[in-house]
């Protein structure tokens, strides 16, 4: 199997180049991450991963133009192109810099505490919790912030100023469902471009956490909550 791997060292290169690495022995259920590792064992490729199990998000790359989480994505026995994740700055080869993206996510995930709810009381936390959004809340917990959904989003690609992208909208949605949050998350979602999403579902398609239903559930819940106001 041959891989075309993007190589880029900003200290000497002005732009990334694709380099062909040949002779990788393929086997059934080999993952993209394994292929990258074997390529690296032939000639250096800088890449990043940690959990090897769809939890940390660090191994997200473009496989033949589609975002994939390399660690849980099998690769077929054919020539493939592996490039760094779209939408983020490339630091080196397949490694991108998500620090700005993650800082923006943190800002949205930070809770605006509801002053009427005493979260220092164990009995308050243990007691009834509005379960209407529980399924979605549980689902969004699995988001690993890999930024693949945003990489796949055609609206974000066309104009990132018009829409924060699915990963950021999930963060807003998380606090929308959170009983203990008092922020106006509906207004925030609209401002973030909720109505500019074209509901194409590319985000759901590339996301490796199948519990998360953006288009059919989460974006729909947010839109319903606006009462139709754009």
């Amino acid at each position: 199997m041959d891989l075309q791997v993007s190589k880029f060292d900003p200290s000497v290169d002005t732009a990334p180049k694709l380099v062909t690495i040949s002779g990788i022995e393929w086997y059934q259920n080999m993952t993209v991450l394994e292929a990258i590792q074997f390529a690296h064992e032939t000639t250096p490729v800088a890449f990043d991963y940690s959990c090897h199990g769809r939890a940390c998000g660090r191994c997200a790359v473009m496989l033949d133009g589609t975002p994939v989480l390399a660690c849980v994505t099998p690769i077929t026995n054919a020539t493939h192109t592996i490039e760094p994740l779209a939408g983020q700055t490339v630091i080196r080869d397949l490694i991108v810099d998500k620090s700005q993206a993650h800082a923006a996510l943190s800002a949205k995930y930070q809770r605006v505490k509801n002053p009427a709810v005493n979260l220092s009381s164990d009995s308050v936390i243990a007691s009834t919790y509005n379960t209407s959004g529980i399924t979605q809340l549980s689902a969004i917990e699995w988001c690993t912030r890999c930024m693949m959904c945003t990489a796949a989003c055609p609206v974000y690609k066309a104009d990132p100023s018009s829409y924060v992208g699915p990963a950021d909208m999930l963060a807003i949605a998380y606090r929308f469902y959170d009983n203990y949050d008092a922020g106006n998350r509906v207004a925030e979602a609209v401002q973030a471009g909720l109505w500019n999403c074209i509901m194409c579902g590319q985000c759901d398609y590339v996301c490796p956490q199948k519990e998360i239903h953006r288009v059919t559930q989460i974006w729909t819940d947010l839109r319903t909550a606006t009462g139709g106001t754009k």
Binding site: R54, C56, R58, L119, D122
Partner: protein, 666 residues
Amino acid sequence: MSKEKDERESSKTSLPRRGFLKGSGFAMGTAIIGSAALAGCGHSSTSPTSTSGGSTGTGTGTTSATNYKVVNADILYIGGGIGALTGIREAVKNGRKVTVLDKGPFRAGGASGMNWDVEYVSFGLPTDAAGDVNWFPFEYEDPTLEVPGSVTNKQLGLNAVNSDPNISISQDYVNNGGECFPRRNADGSLKYIDNYPYPYSVIQVEGGFPRHGQDELIKSSLVTVYDRTMVTNVVVNNGVCVGVTALHLPTGQFTVYTANAVILTSGGCCWFRGWETVAAHSMNSPDNTADVEMALYRQGVQIGDSEFGAFDFISCTPSGISYSFNAGLGGDGGNYKYFLDANGKAFLTDPAAGYDLARFELDRVYFQTVVAEYMANNPSALGPHGGIYVDTTNPAMVALMRQCYSRNIELWQDKFDIDPTKTMIEVNFEMYEHGGTPVVDNNLMTSIPGLFCSRGAGVFGEGGGTCQYVNARMGSYALRSALKYLTTAAVPSTINYSTAVTEFSRLSEILTRTSGGLRPHVVRQEIQKAAGAAFNPYRTAAGLQAAATELARIRTQDLPKQVCTDKSAIYNTEWKMAIENYNLINIAELSIQASLQRLESRGFFRPDYPTLDDTNWHCMLVGQQVGGQMTFTKKTLPNISWSTTPPSSADKIAKARQISRSGLPR
């Protein structure tokens, strides 16, 4: 970057993956290294093997040992995960500035960065016969039960618990950590797991996702995080810790962080044990390579608990997702009925074997020892990857699984065309935690004043590493100890950077070295395979000795021949691996040698010393480099004991559990 600018160059160097530097591949390998070395002198787009492209690490960046930045910090944390979160919150409440160095991308590094559905624990509070609560969790003297405690520093534990403002799960994770605990009953009440028998009055809550705590942490302007920053050594002036040396991975920039107090809260190193294709035989992070711990070891600091690791069973195939927590399927003592060998035999419930079935669920080491012994004695009953099987075709087994595992059934069906509900899965031992940390006093301070370690030796003892709630509690205590230290510590007015320059020279040499020919991943996998063959719940003397011999060979012969093909300073993961190998070899050797030294079975099983020997071994085993040699000594631990008589009534247990839930009145 845009696809339009692709320039495709084909490579004629079809090197076999493993044969890179062996036999007939050697000449080719040399040529590539030669070209990289040439390129290391400056720009080069005319290397003889330009078929590999001009950007195969030809940059050099800044690797001069004297070209370093200095950043001044107040309280410096090494590691920004679970061990740091509680402590940093307390530091901020005390108006201290906190600087956090994280080796990985912040919020995606180490354990917290795995976003992994933690089962948070409010620790158990065993009560004495009078029903009064004893504060040290899991503490009792019954040698027939494996629970962390028999070689832990109990005074340290008591000190931490008695001053901990965060006993309640809710306080810490929901109020301060931004979490929701979305695993609720139908009526919205929180699902507690609290049905363990005495002496476990443990409360557990599922659905913990610690990234939220990291989000909340950086709200404060007193907290600054420098991530993708690898700490490589500790700077000591006149015997006092004054800071650390670090490498900023994205740029290759050397930095000295000076600090009034340094708190080491990095994760346990499991990455020395075993190797598949992309993973060690561990679900822990490749970030955790005991960098600072082993730098301290090389400075002569005592390291304890190296022989102890925490294990469980996880799927070992397909290789790409083997030994993975969030993509794998596993089993443990509570699933003993569903463990089968390759012949389909439920060997654990075999009446002829006479195992203590009730003990399987509570005594993890006993369970693992039994299984490991069976595997060692029945090699023909093992699967193609050397493992045994968990019967996931049985819905009862699936029902017992935690959600973080059972959700992977769909992943396997969709992506890997394997249906675990129709095929049993092959599992093998996975090590998720490990000891091997600096010895600390009863306040978590190491032998170097000003340097604290939340996972210091004695914190978890034979439990092998630390678990989440102990890490959180000790991280918090480390901060309180540091604050106390700072009330009287004299911080030096000038810093001598000579040892930092020496350290940066060492790191530069690892990058620029040209002779030897062994790429870092080759040396890495040698270490992992050698240690992994022996470091299991069941350790034979012969296996340990073979590992010790091979590790010594790697250290003396192969590590000096390690050469980075990639000479760039820009996010050079090969250089990073090369640096880490110096730490992995140390911790691997400490782990194997300490196992050989401990002549009993405690925390793991040795067939040549099959029983617990409290007379001779109720102690910590400490490894220390003396005169360039690894030496071991025994260290007695403060002993605090109390009655193991169960409390007189069920309501006293309930009282203890209630306190576990809601915290002490303070």
